[in-house]
């Protein structure tokens, strides 16, 4: 379940978990150390208290002064006003016979009673006393003892007078430690609460680009490259994420280019096939057509035709002529002999279309930048320019705008014709250069076909891009270098 969670949540969760782990680990180690310190402190203080009391008890025991001994062992508890002071729960003084000499709780541990008979814990302690006695305070803790016991011998000049036993409740320790632990837990929680928003921010900051990338990537394949619009923000820097982002955007761009190229190739191949097909048909038609035209010509020249026949021959001749015109229009001859292209040739074309444009109040923005002679057949270039202009006038309609630019850039002749007509659909563009395709009622739909045939015949390219504002036809024709050299 966690595996399916978005990075958007997973990363902040993991950071939060990490913070929690670190906080708990740090607090834990501090607590552990505090535990040791508290324990040491308790042992040290109680041992010191044992030493002090045992010294004070020496003279009381020497003089058999029970009351004095009682006052001495009660001294610490009479100072109990101070908060958190180390307070013995029970203090016992044993005489040489291990009988209770005096205690802070005489009702429970009366004078001269046996330690063994007091309670289980003290009975166990009594057995411990049999072990070798040192002159230093001895600490006894751990099971079966619920309390911490400090056993200090009371001696005078090397003679053992008695034994001081102080019992400290583990509760003192537990209480101090619990208070401390509570405070530590609170601090941990506070740190966690303060850092979680930071974790959330960092996590999101880190996850967001990945999430965007993933969602965009999931669309690759299911959508076409052209329609794939991803708002991928560029990431600064050069870390892996930025690299990934950059590479992905590069990949998208390449995918788009590839799709473009494929589309162009398909279109070019189709047009080439159509070209071969139409050329084949045209040749098949041209042969009998020439024969038929010869026949009608012979008929008119040598025969005395009656009016009806003459009228019929005329009718035949006109029909055949129309077929010949159409077929010859389909067969574009790219190798026509012609003089090189000049500035004037281009301007002549302008003169040709001006009346048409004026009829529709279309404005033409003209940029003719040609100088000198260009080694391209002027007839063909003029044909191309004329077709593009007429097409533009038709597309832009009344009071439209046309911009035309002809110039040479790096051994390439660039012709750009821009019109302000309606945007063309992708479908229209895909079949734009095919014969008999027309966006309007008038015309045969051969203008762009012819243009395309001429351009490809001259090893050039023609591209169309149609936007909301305008439609641009750009033609690139390479200049024949070998002839120039």
């Amino acid at each position: 379940m966690l595996d399916n969670l978005s990075l958007r949540h997973k990363i902040p969760l993991r950071i939060a978990l990490l913070i929690l782990l670190v906080a708990v680990a740090v607090s834990g180690s501090i607590l552990l150390r505090a535990h040791e310190v508290f324990e040491e402190d308790l042992k040290l203080s109680s041992a010191n208290m044992g030493r002090i009391l045992s010294r004070s008890l020496t003279s009381a025991l020497l003089h058999d002064d029970v009351w004095r001994a009682y006052e001495v062992i009660n001294t610490p508890s009479s100072l109990s006003g101070t908060q958190g002071a180390l307070q013995a729960k029970i203090v016992l003084v044993l005489d040489r016979n291990r009988q209770i000499y005096v205690s802070t709780k005489p009702d429970q541990y009366p004078i001269l009673s046996e330690l063994d008979s007091a309670d289980d814990e003290l009975a166990a302690l009594s057995r411990k006393l049999d072990d070798a006695l040192s002159l230093e305070p001895q600490l006894i803790t751990g099971p079966p003892f619920r309390n911490l016991y400090v056993i200090t011998p009371i001696e005078s000049d090397g003679v053992l007078l008695g034994t001081l036993i102080m019992g400290y409740s583990e509760e003192i320790f537990t209480q101090r430690f619990t208070t401390f632990a509570g405070r530590a837990a609170l601090t941990t929680l506070l740190i966690f609460v303060l850092l979680v928003p930071v974790a959330a921010y960092w996590g999101r900051h880190f996850a967001e680009p990945l999430v965007d990338l993933a969602s965009c990537m999931s669309r690759v394949g299911s959508e076409t490259a052209e329609s794939l619009e991803c708002d991928l923000l560029e990431i600064r820097g050069n870390d892996e994420l930025a690299q990934l982002n950059r590479q992905f955007r590069l990949m998208l761009a390449e995918l788009r280019d590839k799709a473009d190229l494929e589309r162009q190739m398909v279109a070019a191949e189709r047009l080439a096939a159509i070209g071969r097909f139409t050329a084949g048909i045209a040749h098949e038609i041209n042969n009998p057509l020439g024969g038929m035209l010869n026949a009608t010509n012979t008929l008119r020249r040598h025969g005395k035709l009656d009016p009806l026949t003459a009228k019929t021959v005329n009718l035949l001749e006109r029909g055949l002529m129309q077929i010949r015109d159409t077929v010859s229009a389909l067969l574009v001859e790219a190798k026509t002999e012609s003089h090189p292209l000049t500035h004037q040739d281009v301007d002549d074309t302008r003169t040709l279309v001006t009346p048409v444009a004026a009829g529709l109040s279309v404005q033409i923005d003209w940029h003719n930048e040609l100088t000198g002679e260009i080694e391209l057949a002027s007839t063909l270039v003029r044909q191309v320019l004329l077709n593009l202009l007429l097409n533009a006038i038709q597309a832009t309609g009344e009071k439209g705008q046309i911009a035309c630019s002809v110039r040479c850039v790096n051994d390439t002749l660039c012709i750009e014709v821009r019109n302000s007509g309606e945007q063309m659909s992708d479908e229209t563009i895909a079949h734009l250069f095919e014969p008999f395709v027309t966006g309007h009622d008038s015309g045969r739909g051969l203008g762009l076909w012819v243009t395309y045939q001429i351009v490809t015949g001259l090893n050039g390219t023609i591209e169309v891009s149609s936007g909301r504002a305008d439609t641009l036809f750009s033609v690139h024709l390479p200049l024949p270098l070998q002839e120039a050299a």
Binding site: V66, W67, V102, K105, P106, D107, P110, I111, L112
Partner: protein, 285 residues
């Protein structure tokens, strides 16, 4: 009986003799008064007020000296380190040859008090000191009548050995602490000055309430204020008059109330005959 009368006669002679000898001492000299735990001697504030009162009435500096045991005060008294002291009737009788009776406090209108035998309030069984045989017992001071002599006599009267009657006995060096020892269970029983117990019952009812009076002894002469050999005749008389006058003086009455006493009175050594009987009985046994 004969011995005490003789001693008294000797003391009277000594006292009159000292009058002429030491009257030359400056009137403005310091007056040293020793106090023992015959009363609640842990009230420093009260002692200071009383000292101030006596100073203003006697028109001379007064020093109160407190010691933790009767013995120390007695040593100072006999060693001429004190002029006066408030001591127990028992040491007074023992050293009557060197001391002069100055005044005896009046408690409940008479110069008498009792010794109380007390046990813990939870001990409902003990009916007399005989029931405490083999137990732990708290005496106040070996030089105290009520806190030592009386229970010692009672044990003797039972025909028991005073040394072994109790399993364990100890001194607390003050009557109030006997009450504490019994109240906390440190001792099973204790002997205490009745006047101290009564006063504690008013001042610290919580502590006194944790003990129960088993029996009260017969009445004895109240712990007296005595003069040492160093005390000048004039001082003794002046102190006597000041003490006697406290009951008629508003300021003195307030102090007496704090002491839980009615006043001070002139008494004869015969007042302490009861204590003398105990001494005799015990020294015979």
């Amino acid at each position: 009986m004969k011995r005490r009368t003789l001693l008294a006669a000797f003391l009277a002679a000594g006292a009159t003799g000292s009058l002429g000898l030491r009257s030359v001492q400056a009137k403005t000299g310091q007056m040293r008064i020793g106090i023992t735990p015959v009363f609640l001697d842990n009230q420093t504030g009260f002692i200071d007020r009383w000292r101030g009162y006596l100073e203003s009435r006697l028109d001379r500096p007064i020093v109160f000296k407190q010691r933790s045991t009767y013995r120390q005060i007695m040593d100072m008294l006999l060693g001429d380190e004190l002029d006066f002291a408030w001591i127990c009737g028992y040491p007074y009788l023992r050293y009557q040859h060197a001391l002069e009776l100055v005044a005896v406090p009046l408690y409940h209108g008479e110069p008498l008090y009792q010794s109380y035998l007390i046990v813990h309030a939870d001990d409902r069984r003990t009916g007399s000191i005989a029931d405490l045989k083999g137990r732990v017992f708290a005496y106040s001071d070996p030089d105290s009548n009520s806190g030592f002599l009386v229970p010692q006599y009672q044990i003797s009267a039972l025909g028991e050995d005073r040394e072994t009657f109790f399993r364990k006995s100890f001194f607390t060096w003050a009557h109030e602490k006997v009450v504490t020892a019994v109240a906390t269970g440190l001792a099973d029983g204790g002997a205490v000055d009745g006047y101290v117990w009564d006063t504690l019952a008013v001042r610290n009812p919580e502590l006194a309430g944790r003990t129960r009076i088993v029996s009260k002894s017969r009445k004895f002469g109240f712990p007296p204020i005595v003069a040492s050999r160093t005390a000048q005749r004039g001082d003794t008389l002046a102190l006597k008059q000041t003490l006697f006058g406290m009951a008629n003086d508003p300021e003195g009455v307030l102090l007496l109330r704090e002491l839980n006493l009615d006043g001070f009175s002139e008494q004869d050594i015969a007042l302490f005959n009861g204590i003398g009987d105990l001494i005799d009985a015990l020294s015979m046994g």
